[in-house]
Symmetry: C2
Subunit: 547 residues, 2 copies
């Protein structure tokens, strides 16, 4: 027997309709790419997004067609999103930080027909579009006065297009499983793979995000998403903001400490979200200029593990609570959040850090489990490592055009490629990437954990740990060290430094001093390249350490 409730498809156009109906006057403030601070409202954005839809329809865009954006976080970018999605086209967010050849691959793979682009990226498009035959038209998101010189064949001026388009268009009215957004992972292995969000998954993700324990949001909140709309959908804030009627502050192209600080203070921001490097830039700026944060209550930090020192600095120096989050493009991205329990809160802050450095627990709608390589479930005891598997209505079940093939296990869980622990309080902590974990005698050793300790030695500039083949144990860890300028090589002192801080059987079998440790585009160690460089390395017959 079915229930007798209304059939109301969960489509994201309803989110901006809601903002227009109930929060039309609430502001969206952008540091524009052209320079000035630009103020608009959800009501105005709603009307302009509908004009975008009409322009797309006039250019022959059909449901399911991919329309890309190559843009910063701005009010215009929000308009483009809803304008594209509202008519059932797929909004493909391009990440401008990718190499040109990756962008070419992605645009061709997605078969993008139209690209909305910020002024900043017009030279980039000039260079790559000759290699992208599916792209028929580029819309530069600026006004006529700012239109650039470009070699692009069919170019439109965003403001002129909007001026010529009507606001009268019908949104939604399609199946909630209709594709809505496309975002490629910048995977370190193989080609980039596209995650194809549905209206349903984005709508449900928005509701997850509105929970008190996630983003929250109310008309009283002022939210600044530094995390880009091309990076896992700005963690959902371009949906959650209008859904909650919160004022949104869009930082445009400038994410340096002084620029973010200025927006936080002048606009009265209460909540903001960004990766650790952005926050480090802000903290540096605050300290160097002896500044305080007068309105920010809480910051969401994700994209990489949050250093304990950062959590402590926000708490002790600025009275701001850090909420650590974990997720990935394939998870929309909300996965877990480091919400403390009342039992933790009853402890001194220093003791709470034991949990606050972890990535935390999932909200309703996200299932997690740990399993070993054989698929056996592993215990949540806080120390057993396992592959982190995830399931839910906001998690990918396949990649676009079936790249990567079947990606779910027998129980429907997606393999995150991360290795993690889950403790008795349910707090998940990422310990390594699965491909970087060192498998020694059937047990797993976290390369990241050893690196994080080794890099604390005063002579060390960078440290990396990789597995090297071993006849008996399969793999044993090797510690690679790039010394600070002028420091001398002494293998034993680095092993001594690890003593007592890691399990004895984790102790590296060798220390190798290297002139360089390669970093990837996101600042993480490029383990793939490192392993390639070390492919001829052989372990010593005996571990070099004394103990």
């Amino acid at each position: 027997m079915h229930g007798l409730m209304q059939d109301w498809p969960l489509t994201v156009d309803r989110i901006l309709d809601h903002a227009n109906n109930w929060h039309a006057g609430r502001e969206v403030v952008t540091r524009s790419v052209e320079g000035p601070i630009v103020r608009t409202t959800y009501g105005a954005i709603h009307g302009r997004a509908k004009r975008v839809s009409n322009a797309l329809l006039a250019w022959g865009v059909k449901p399911g067609d991919r329309v890309a954006t190559l843009a910063w976080n701005t009010g215009n970018h929000i308009e483009a999103w809803y304008g594209i999605m509202g008519i059932g086209a797929v909004c493909h967010t391009l990440n401008p930080r990718l190499f040109p050849e990756q962008l070419i691959y992605i645009i061709n793979h997605a078969e993008d027909r139209i690209i909305f682009v910020d002024l900043t990226f017009v030279p980039l498009l000039d260079a790559i579009l000759p290699h992208c035959p599916t792209v028929e038209r580029v819309v530069v998101m600026t006004d006529a006065d700012h239109m650039p010189q470009t070699k692009l064949p069919v170019v439109e001026c965003y403001e002129s297009v909007l001026e010529q388009s009507s606001e009268d268009v019908r949104w939604g009215q399609f199946d909630e499983n209709t594709a809505c957004g496309l975002c490629y992972t910048s995977g370190t292995t193989g080609n980039p793979k596209g995650v194809l969000y549905s209206h349903r998954s984005n709508f449900i993700h928005t509701l997850l995000g509105l929970q008190t324990t996630v983003i929250g949001g109310s008309p009283k909140d002022v939210i600044l998403p530094v995390v880009p709309m091309f990076h896992a959908n700005a963690w959902g804030i371009a949906f959650a903001g209008p859904a909650a009627g919160s004022k949104l502050i869009m930082p445009g192209a400038r994410m340096d400490g002084p620029s973010i600080y200025e927006l936080l203070e002048t606009e009265g921001v209460t909540f903001s979200a960004a990766v650790p490097t952005v926050w480090q830039g802000l903290l540096n700026h605050l300290r160097e200029n002896n500044l305080k944060l007068s309105t920010v209550k809480r910051v969401l930090i994700g994209g990489a593990a949050v250093p304990e020192s950062m959590i402590r600095a926000f708490h002790d120096e600025f009275g701001v609570e850090v909420l650590q989050g974990w997720g990935m493009t394939e998870t929309s991205p909300i996965g877990t959040l480091s919400n403390t329990t009342p039992e933790m809160e009853a402890m001194p802050f220093e003791e709470q850090l034991k949990w606050r450095v972890k990535q935390g627990t999932p909200p309703l709608g996200v299932e997690l489990k740990l399993k070993d390589d054989a698929g056996t479930p592993l215990p949540s005891d806080g120390h057993t490592f396992g592959r982190l598997m995830i399931k839910g209505p906001t998690i990918a079940r396949a990649y676009f055009k079936d790249e990567g093939g079947h990606i779910l296990d027998d129980e429907g869980f997606f393999d995150t490629g991360d290795v993690a622990t889950i403790d008795e309080q349910g707090f998940m902590q990422i310990t390594d990437r699965a491909k970087d974990v060192i498998k020694s005698g059937g047990e797993w050793i976290s390369s990241i954990e050893i690196e994080n300790i080794a890099v604390g030695h005063p002579k060390v500039a960078l440290a990396a740990v990789i597995g090297a083949a071993h006849a008996k144990w399969d793999e044993r860890p090797v510690l690679l060290i790039k010394l600070k300028d002028g420091e001398g090589e002494d293998k034993q002192e680095h092993l001594d430094f690890l003593q007592g801080k890691i399990a004895k059987w984790w102790m590296p079998d060798d220390v190798v001093f290297v002139g360089d440790i390669p970093l990837g585009a996101t600042g993480k160690i490029d383990k793939k390249l490192l392993r390639e460089r070390m492919k001829d390395y052989r372990l010593p017959d005996q571990p070099i350490g004394k103990s």
Copy 2:
């Protein structure tokens, strides 16, 4: 094109699974029907709910079968809910406050096969079950020591049944549109009508409820739902509590001021939800005993308009924020909430009351509109009355067994039967029931608004306003007054009292002194009976007022 996200049906069994996986140790505390305070956890409730499922399966309960509960808010009641819903049966919450003949009608209409009952209501069932042939079995929710004398033919002891049942049962795995809950409206006209919730509607409603602007909820919250689980699903708290991992405090049979106060203070309640009469009882108790509320931050009040004096008392005397809510059985029930904006919060509290007395704005997922009898949309200007229409995935589209026929308009909106205004800030205010509003010359007059003013006259005990037939204007208002004992009848002084407080054309054409004004079961004026009593009344030829 469809998205490529996981198919993860939104079924409510996943809510208790989530609580068991991530918040297993979080407490559920009940003032038991037998007397003592009973403490359990989501982990224990999860296991016991699974035992309920196995018992039901052993008794031959099939998906879609209706299993009823006649019970207070207790941990046991939560177990019964999830045990029933988890296997695809329909949990039918019976309201013990209905007249026996209404209960008989409802049980027979629903064709309930099994009833879970609290000790309190066993005598009630003894009396009515001979008239309910579909009921095969009654489960008394107590232990063997407390089993009562009863004339019921097939009776089970809840604790004995659980002891004999296994925890090993498969939940969910069915379509999210599967029926999940059944709740009858105690409609004032015609027979009670059943609202048949789906798993999907209840799951989405749970996500709506978890928003910061609605119930919210986190592991740090302690939530006390005074509003009964048989009254519009305790406003969703039996789902939202476990979903958020909040500690739940269940008041059992005692909702008087001293009992609620004791739970609020001893259990550290942060959030509670109840109808105004319960809060009035609490406020009286607090004042009489010079008590304070030390942990409660926010209370959700709904079910009837919240008097301004109550909002002010909570704020001024107890430092508690009142969130006013509006909804109905047909709306799951969340409809609107009186969340203030930053612009309102910048005003002195007295000025904020202008909005805080209203029922507020809808969360994402609830659509509202006002229309007149001809179906024409009406403006949101704060003074134009219209029929309040509502739409969304948590709103009924039909009643069980099609009672009442087609209940949606051409755009899919459900007619709430309420008349309301919506102001420029989007705040909705209920002004009357549609059947009580007085239609005068094509315009509407709110009977409730005149009553609320008239009852403020020091000589008046009760006041009611009804429409009387008028040759020219169709209807004109008549003010009925029940005087306090010993007061003298003077029609003009009651009209004078209204002067300047209502529009001139709202002024009643006559004042009638009556010995009695009938009240319904919920304490509201029974207008239907009043109109019946006044059916022979005729208006004077001229309005009696001087002005």
